[in-house]
Amino acid sequence: MVEHIAQPPAAPAEAGAVLTLVEAVRAALWEEMARDPRVIVLGQDVGRKGGVFKATQGLLAEYGPWRVLDTPISEAAIAGAAIGAAMMGLRPVAEFQFADYIHPAYDQIVNHAATIRWRSVGGWGVPVVFRAPFGAGVRGGVYHSQSVEALYCHIPGLKVVVPATPRDAKGLLKSAIRDDDPVLFFEHKWSYRRYREPVGGPDELIPIGQARLDRPGRDLSIITYGVGVHHARQAADALAAEGLLVEILDLRTLAPLDHEAIARTVRKTSKVLILHEANKTMGIGAEIAAFIAEELFLDLDGPIVRVAAADCHLPYNAAEEDAIIPNPDRVYQAALRLARF
């Protein structure tokens, strides 16, 4: 069996290496597994195949089949076994092949990972990372396109992280693995190989719960995360040509939200556009807008605008998909209207 494993690529590079997002994920896994023998990886096709997006490539050859486990198609057991193993001292990283297939494990995550520490008054902890590629734009149809992050933000006891850039992906995943509590870690698959940047070294941890000021501005704030950051950058470039200075806040963590960073940018620009690829209704944009409307009402100079998917499932055909999901132009148009409010 071992001979058929895809050639193990070289171990991940040092600080400053220029990586894509998926390479950054792999580097984080590799380094954390090297650093801590309690870290294991489990999921469908994570071993012999190295993951359908190659995020776990080479790990099986390096760390062996007990630490890199090719599981059956049993999402609930993947999550459940990760929880039990974490209670007994491991630090499992469970991969769901697509976020669209995390739903069979919903019960294990929301009824157990989320509750175990609280219901045992701190007696037991669940240091698990639940990873999944998510997001649209790859013409994957209903079951390879979903944005599910909002479905976990209503549940106390869970952290939800969505990196937008390779550097953040690496540093945040390392923090997630070292976190003593369950973290859902969603990686936008359309962004997996589209952008490269220098990443941090083995010791760079990016803290969970802190937003990142992606671009300072003056006239209007775009609050976003994941692929939205890239759309926002493009829109902001175009708006700059209109003389508008757009501030971009990359949330990075959706639960817990960085309320202070949100408040800072709202107070600064007084105009807020929230952008996400998830469906508009009950996306995390709803919570952000509600927070602002409750706590920062007097700081607002205009309506809180949300640009998001049009409350629809996502199709395989490009025509309909493009009609549903946000793109830089839609962000540009909405921002322009808001700036002129």
């Binding site: 058929h4 359908v52 599981t71 059956p72 198609i73 209903v142 409350d311 055909n317 025509a319 998909e321």
Partner: protein, 368 residues
């Protein structure tokens, strides 16, 4: 229990009566094999064309039945089309073709065209759906359709319909919790369900030994109080007989069955997969188990089929498939403003689907 009143003996069936796919007359084995072979040749021709579309960037994601064809066709031939409900999975192109889906319709789907009657180009290729043929809408999700098929069988009992729910799935699906729940529920109420596992020994890269601690899927039937059979899925008559027996049992009101069809997976998992996790020898063994050449040899050996007839069939099939592909290519994608249509009841019908349904009903009227 009042249930007893509702159980009824089904019409007697003899083993090789094909009560399906538009004919209900007895067939001899030779005719059955030829029928299976024609459909297999058709399937292969469509499949070949899909891979070309994939390489051309015209079809985004191709899931191929190669190696499974005979298992799919011979099992699907045991259904009464439009009467029994069919619950295929994403690899079941040949189930579709056998039940009456046309290559043109498949191409419309793979190319994401507006007229695709399965999903209007919303789902990946081979995600069948046809109310008229009673083919349930396929999802990409493994095993999720099993409890739904059981529900369909339950509905048949409640409604007093003599309809069987036939459900196809891969070996990978046997690891899902819903599979257990579905088989258990079917067993408890002796529901008319036939579970057909196309066991190709792989869930993408994960071999059977990492999927289950026992060697046979069929052995699990015992846990649900139903018979399980494991047959060589490249042996057309064996498949047909096993499925026919399971159908007959279901129609007699005796309950569900599990039929395991052992098949090779000749290609990578999909057009996105590189198969790098299999050795050269493993891939060669799968290719060597291709059911098509075997069936062809069998037909030739039996007589009544010739090299010339075979060449003609292949050529004619290829030409027909190419024409269907060209027709589909000429069709437009969906209008973007249609994206949110059919989220809820009350929208105007999908035009091409409605046309097919009307035609199907008219045909049904004629036959009925």
């Amino acid at each position: 229990m009042a249930s007893e009143e509702q159980s009824r003996a089904s019409s007697p069936t003899t083993e090789l009566v094909v009560e399906s796919a538009s004919e209900a007359t007895p067939l001899d084995e030779g005719a059955l094999l030829l029928r299976i072979y024609r459909l297999a040749v058709l399937t292969r021709a469509v499949d070949e064309r899909l891979w070309i579309f994939s390489r051309q960037g015209l079809a985004g994601f191709v899931l191929t039945p190669r190696g499974h064809e005979v298992a799919q066709i011979a099992s699907a031939l045991t259904l009464r089309v439009g009467h029994d409900s069919a619950w295929p999975y994403y690899r079941d192109m040949a189930v579709g073709l056998t039940l009456g889906v046309t290559p043109y319709e498949l191409f419309l789907g793979a190319l994401g065209r507006a007229d695709d009657p399965h999903s209007g180009g919303r789902q990946l290729s081979m995600h069948l759906s046809s109310p008229r043929l009673r083919i349930a809408t396929v999802s990409s999700e493994i095993a999720a359709h099993l409890p739904q098929a059981v529900g369909a069988a339950y509905a048949a009992r409640v409604l007093g319909q003599d309809s069987v729910a036939v459900c196809w799935f891969g070996d990978g699906a046997t690891s899902e919790g819903v599979t257990h729940e579905a088989m258990n529920l079917a067993g408890i109420h002796r529901l008319p369900v036939v579970f057909i596992c196309e066991n190709n020994g792989l869930a993408i890269s994960v071999p059977l030994a990492l999927q289950m601690p026992i060697a046979s899927v069929a052995a699990r039937a015992a846990a649900y109080g139903m018979p399980g059979t494991s047959v060589d899925g490249t042996d057309a008559l064996a498949v047909y007989r096993a499925c026919q027996a399971a159908m007959a049992r279901a129609r007699r009101g005796e309950g569900p069955s599990l039929v395991e069809l052992r098949v090779p997976r000749i290609t990578p998992h999909s057009s996105q997969d590189d198969d790098s996790y299999r050795s050269e020898a493993e891939r060669a063994a799968a290719a060597a188990a291709d059911p098509l050449p075997r069936l062809r040899r069998e037909l030739l050996a039996r007589g009544g089929w010739s090299e010339e007839a075979d060449e003609r069939l292949v050529a004619e099939t290829r030409a027909a498939v190419a024409a269907a592909a060209d027709r589909a290519l000429a069709q437009p994608p969906p209008p973007p403003e249609r994206a949110r249509r059919w989220l809820f009841a009350g929208d105007p019908p999908h035009p091409y689907l409605a046309q097919l349904e009307r035609a199907g009903r008219a045909e049904g009227d004629r036959h009925g």
